[in-house]
Amino acid sequence: MIALLARIGAWTLGGLAGLGRFAAFAGAAVTHLVRPPFYGRELAVALLQIGWLSLPVVGLTALFTGGALALQIYAGGNRFGAEAVVPQIVAIGMVRELGPVLVGLMVAARVTSSIAAELATMRVTEQIDALVTLSTDPMKYLVLPRLLAATLAVPLLVGVGDLIGILGGWIVGTGRLGFVSAAYLRNTLDFLEPLDWASSFAKGAVFGFLAALMGCWFGMTSGRGAMGVGRATKGAVVAAAVAILAANLILTEAFFSA
C-alpha cells in the first residue's frame, strides 16, 4: 500500500518535472524570436516543407469532407424540411470547426511526425551535439524556424482548406442535390461573418504552433537508437493531435460562447 502510494507519488513528481521541462523548452524557444542571430534560410526551407508541400493533402482532405458534409446536412435537414440550409451550414461548419481541426490533424500527421523523426535522428547520430560544437544554438537553428514557419503557414493552410471545403460542398450541392450555383455561393458568402474567419485563422496559428512544438520537443529529447526515434515520433504525433483537439475546445469556447 505504502509502496503503491510512493510509486504514484514518484510518477506524479516525474510527470510534473517533465511538464516543467516542457514548459521551459516552449518558453525558451519563444524568447529566441527576439534574440539574434536568425536563420532566414532555415525558415524558408521550413515554410516550404510545412506550408507549400502540405497543400495537396490539406486540399484533398477538405474537398472530400466538404462534399460529405453537404450530403449529411441535406439528408439530416430533410427530416424537418430544412434542406435549404446546406450552403450556410457547410460554410460555418468548415470555417469555424472542420477546416481548422482537419488541417491541424493533417499537419500533426505530416509535419509533426517528420519534425520529430528528423530531430530525433539528429539527436541520436550526434548531429545536434555537432551543431553545438559549431557554436550554433539548436534552439535557434532547428527549433525556432520550424515553430515560426508552422505558426505562420498553418493559418494560411486553414484558409485554403476552408475554401476548398466550401468548394466540395458546392460541387456536391449543385451536382447532386439540385442547388443553383449562384444562389449557393451567395448564401455562403452572405452568411459568413468576419468573426468566423478570425476564429479559423487563430485556430490555425495555435494548432500550427502546437504541432511544431510537439515535434520539436519529442525530437530534441529523443532516447537512443532506432527505438528512441520511433518513440519520439509516435509520442509527438499523439501529443500534437490531443493538444490540437483540446485547444480547439478552448478556442471555440473563447470565440463563440456568449
Binding site: 536563420y39 550526434e126 551543431l131 553545438v132 559549431l134 557554436s135 550554433t136
Partner: protein, 250 residues
C-alpha cells in the same frame, strides 16, 4: 606561467551506477597536443564531451584558459573549437561542402567563396573535389570521417578535439590525417586533444600522452616515453597484450 589552455579537476561522470570518469585531472598547455589512449569503453569520448559541455559532469571543474567553461560566451570558446566526433556526425541533410563550410556560411560568407574554401579543405584530408556535392550518406565510412575532420578544421580552430581520427582509414591516409593534426598544432598554434587506439597516431601527433583506465588517468608522460614508460598499463597497451592490469572485460 600562463594558465593551461584546457584544465580539468576532479572531473566525475556516472551513468546510472556505471562510474565512467572518477576524478580526472588534466592540464593541457596552450599549443600543446595531448593524446588520450585507453581501452575501448573506458570513457574517452565521455571525457571529451564533458570538456566541451555536451555532457554535464557530476562533479569537478573544466577550465578554459583559466576561466570556468560554464561561464564562457561562445566567442571565448565554442567559436574557436573544432570537434571531430567518433561517428562523424555530419549533417546528413546538407551536401558535404556545406557541412565543411558550415561556420563560414552561417557567418555570411558568399556561397561561391565558401564552396571554394570547402573544396580546398576537403583536399587537405585527401577528398577530391567531386565529393563536395555528394551527401554524407553517399560517402564511405572513412570518407565520412575525413569530411568530418575537414569540417572540424575548416575555420582554423584554436582548440581541436579529435575522437579517433584515423579509425577505419588505410595506413597511407592515416598518415595524412596524423600530419594534418600535427600541422594544426605546429603551424596554427592550436591546442589539441586527440583520442586514439592507433600507436602511429600517438607517435606522430602527441606531445604528451595520457592513459585512461578505471575512470582515472593512470599514466601521463611525453610521447617519446611510451616505449619505456615502466608503467604496466602503458606496456600492456603498447604490446596489445591480454595480460596486465587493464581488464579485457569492459
Amino acid at each position: 606561467m600562463s594558465a593551461p589552455a584546457i584544465e580539468t579537476r576532479a572531473l566525475r561522470k556516472t551513468f546510472g551506477d556505471l562510474r565512467v570518469l572518477d576524478g580526472i585531472d588534466l592540464a593541457v598547455a596552450p599549443g600543446e597536443s595531448l593524446v588520450v589512449i585507453g581501452g575501448s569503453g573506458t570513457g574517452k569520448s565521455v571525457l571529451l564531451k564533458c570538456i566541451l559541455g555536451l555532457l554535464q559532469p557530476d562533479g569537478g571543474t573544466v577550465r578554459i584558459e583559466g576561466r570556468s567553461r560554464a561561464a564562457l560566451a561562445p566567442r571565448d570558446f565554442l567559436d574557436r573549437v573544432g570537434m571531430l566526433f567518433q561517428g562523424g556526425a555530419l549533417f546528413d541533410s546538407l551536401p558535404v561542402w556545406q557541412n565543411v563550410a558550415f561556420r563560414h556560411l552561417r557567418d555570411g560568407m558568399a556561397r561561391v567563396e565558401a564552396r571554394e574554401r570547402a573544396i580546398e579543405t576537403l583536399g587537405r584530408v585527401g577528398l577530391p573535389p567531386r565529393t563536395a556535392d555528394l551527401y554524407p550518406a553517399e560517402l564511405s565510412g572513412g570518407m565520412q570521417k575525413r569530411a568530418a575532420l575537414a569540417r572540424a578544421i575548416a575555420a582554423e580552430p584554436a582548440f581541436l578535439f579529435c575522437d579517433e581520427p584515423t579509425a577505419g582509414l588505410d595506413p597511407i591516409l592515416a598518415g595524412v590525417i596524423n600530419r594534418l593534426i600535427r600541422d594544426s598544432v605546429d603551424r596554427l598554434g592550436a591546442t589539441a586533444i586527440t583520442i586514439t587506439h592507433d600507436l602511429t597516431t600517438v607517435r606522430t601527433v602527441a606531445d604528451r600522452v595520457a592513459l585512461l583506465d578505471g575512470g582515472r588517468i593512470r599514466w601521463m608522460g611525453p610521447a617519446a616515453a611510451i616505449d619505456h614508460s615502466g608503467d604496466a598499463h602503458v606496456e600492456q597497451f603498447v604490446a596489445g597484450s591480454d595480460r596486465g592490469p587493464i581488464s579485457t572485460l569492459r
